[in-house]
Symmetry: C2
Subunit: 196 residues, 2 copies
């Protein structure tokens, strides 16, 4: 197996996963989450039920956003570290929020749904955990310490937590963009505990 083949297969795999995700989302939007079965999703995506479970461990996972991968340039810029760490993290993360309206609408729909539907709460938290892990690795890289050291892990936990708070605030208030909320929350972290 050459590298090329692995790449091809990986890409194909990602495309199929995305097809399933889109199918699941479409069905949930139109029929409501409680009226969508795994069989429907598989059928809508043009695969067998068994294949669905080759891609996702459980039904709700198909409604999770795919793992993010940051722009190479953005990561390099982050590692240089022109600004304070917190600001640079904000800059890096907010490149993610430059998406088109359709994506934002989907994000909002899922986030709203995840606040009421119990199983989606779990899925949302899992997504944030993955997010936190990535941020932790990035910070550890910039600080030149091990990824499981206390400091990067704490920082990542706070940042991920702040993003979660910001997002739920955004969904509820509907004032300003999601990026605004995230920016504000991250900025508040700096002096959160130092001024009492």
């Amino acid at each position: 197996m050459t590298e090329c083949s692995g790449d091809l297969r990986a890409r194909r795999r990602m495309r199929t996963a995305d097809t399933i995700r889109k199918a699941a989302l479409r069905l949930v939007v139109t029929r409501g989450i409680d009226n969508v079965t795994t069989e429907m999703i598989a059928h809508e995506a043009g695969i067998s039920l068994r294949t669905f479970f080759n891609y996702f461990a459980f039904k709700e996972e198909a409604l999770m956003p795919p793992p993010i991968d940051f722009d190479e340039r953005a990561i390099a810029c982050f590692n240089e570290g022109r600004d304070s760490l917190l600001n640079d993290v904000a800059t890096l993360l907010l490149t993610q929020f430059e998406d088109v309206d359709e994506d934002r609408a989907q994000l909002r729909f899922l986030f709203e749904l995840s606040q009421t539907h119990p199983k989606l709460v779990l899925v949302r938290d899992k997504a944030f955990q993955q997010y936190e892990d990535i941020i932790c690795k990035l910070i550890a890289g910039r600080l030149k310490v091990a990824p499981d050291a206390l400091r990067p892990r704490l920082m990542a936990a706070c940042i991920a937590g702040a993003i979660k708070v910001a997002m739920s605030g955004w969904v509820r208030s509907s004032e300003g963009t999601a990026a605004d909320h995230v920016r504000r929350a991250l900025a508040a972290l700096e002096t959160l505990f130092s001024e009492n």
Copy 2:
């Protein structure tokens, strides 16, 4: 329905829930989580399968620790606010870790399990979310602001995140007590982002 009856029923309900929790834990410890069914748990707890689902929405929820309630005195002390907010939070939270060895062993067992078993990851995060909500209310009370204001929510998110980091560090390192790890993590929050 008088207040007394409600109290009686609530207490009875909590006792039953606890019986189920203990039964579930006992079975999981002895047989391994993959070999335990809801029927076994119900049987072990002396109730019907249907009743199990009256108490827990899904199987793994029976392995979640019950919602904590802080000591009245401790809360009052926290609201007075002798020390810095972060220190007082630490003091308040660490009253929770004064438990007997048996409880700590259980906590550790479940936390270890939750790091490998996918569905328990979800449950653990849900437990931490509840924890975060309680902390948020407490902080909001002390700061005399609304519980859904940005500052208490951010603080609670950071504190809950720090505790999660501390706990997973504790389970992995097995050096020092859980309280030590939590204390250290919370102390680190103060200057986490202010010194770059």
